[in-house]
Amino acid sequence: MSGTSKGLTRQQMADRIALEFQDGWIVNLGVGIPTMCSNTDIGDRDITYHSENGVIGYGPIAPSGQEDLNLVNAGGQNVTLKPGAAVVHHADSFAIIRGGRIDVTVMGAYEVACNGDFANWKITGQKGGGIGGAMDLAACAKRVFIIMEQITRSGAPRLVSQCALPVTARGVVKLVATNYGLFQPTSEGVSLREIAPGITVDEVRATVGCKLTVPDALPQVRLAS
């Protein structure tokens, strides 16, 4: 089994991050695995999902045949609206973001450094990239949580001491879920808070490119509220 398919599934990584959402939060989910956070059952906590294209209060993906083709989330998927939803234009949507109203933004990343820097818009050797709303969100949301695979397809660590790729924002990442566990960047290194079932601490240590702190009592990744 390859390193990228060990441990937690994509949905489980999203589930673990979603458990951090607190009642009343306004949450922005990035394209890819982060959108799966909206599938997680987090009890009766009241969460408002914001999408960068100006949709505030969207719900699940629309069932096939019932899509409104003029209603999409950040990933271009046709979604539904929850009671109380509102739609604003792009400048207002980013006023919400830069104005500090987003409690957490959840994004994917190529790399996260232990000082909280992260990179998710440009790969090595490329002239341009894909920024989208990531830099605005990363600079201005109250918290940035990252979901990514523990290692690259070629086996290199994604949790590193310093980003090699151009960063999206500096010093902002508060929490990282990978298929190997839940990590918190600290000024010293990364701290392993929870470990995925079937993964050993040695495996985590071998796949992290910076100092790793492991608590004496290490819980398994929590997957239900």
Binding site: L69, A91, F94, G130, I131, A139, V167
Partner: protein, 245 residues
């Protein structure tokens, strides 16, 4: 209030005077709000050396007229957008190779900065400071300023010659209403443009038929309207084709 209707008879007529070298913005985020029919008319019109402004160069699947097609058609000098490449390295935007090879220039702008540069242009604000992109490659060599202890990056307004947008409802005066996320950049681009051309889903209503409280973009920002005919003559958003992983 009396005025001539802003409705024109065809997409071709709506874009007939677009000169070479124009700066044109295109509304839309994914399928909603993209002026597919106006882009198709511009492909046929053939104006060259254009500067295009929009969220992304495409391409949605199934492929519909997008900024990338104007690039592929040799009409474009420069693109100002939030994506010159896909965020997932395995996805390839048709535009990327034109940019990487130097055939077409690009200015990569964070999406919120793009929206605010357009808003500023429409609001008579020449420049502004934003926290976005501070500390990144995009800020290298550019003016920043510490305000109340935080570093901000100077960004300039982005005025447009033309904005091409799509709305659901309009009256002859050009007042527009958008449906759901069709709104996105559209009303902001309209304020930033010298000439705004809107393609409209429903029949154009007589002035007075829209409740003024329900207008999302005021007609003073809108200059030409074209009703989108039913398919197959008109192009409409389609279901998204899910990408395979």
């Amino acid at each position: 209030m009396t005025q001539k209707s802003k409705q024109v008879g065809s997409f071709r007529e709506a874009v007939h005077d677009i000169p070479d070298g124009a700066t044109i913005a295109f509304g839309g985020f994914a399928m909603p709000g993209v002026p597919f029919n106006l882009i198709k008319a511009l492909l046929e019109h053939g104006a060259r050396q254009l500067t295009l402004v929009g969220n992304t160069t495409g391409a949605q699947q199934p492929r519909m007229p997008d900024m990338g097609m104007l690039v592929e058609n040799g009409q474009v000098k420069k693109v100002i957008c939030a994506f010159t490449a896909a965020t997932r390295p395995t996805d390839v935007l048709p535009f990327t190779k034109y940019y990487e090879s130097g055939e077409v220039d690009a200015e990569l702008v964070p999406q919120g900065t793009l929206a605010e540069r357009l808003r500023a242009a429409g609001a008579g604000i020449p420049a502004f400071y934003t926290p976005t992109a501070v500390g990144t490659e995009l800020a290298e060599g550019r003016e920043t300023r510490i305000i109340n202890g935080r570093e901000y990056l100077l960004e300039y307004a982005l005025p447009l010659d033309y904005a091409f947008i799509r709305a659901t409802r309009a009256d002859t005066f050009g007042n527009l209403q958008f449906h759901r996320s069709q709104r996105n950049f559209c009303p902001v681009m309209a304020t930033a443009a010298r000439v705004t051309i809107a393609e409209v889903d429903e029949d154009i209503l007589p002035a007075g038929a829209m409740d003024p409280d329900h207008v999302h973009a005021a007609g003073i920002f809108v200059h030409r309207l074209v009703k989108v005919p039913p398919p197959p003559d008109g192009l409409w958003p389609t279901r998204r084709q899910e990408r395979s992983r």
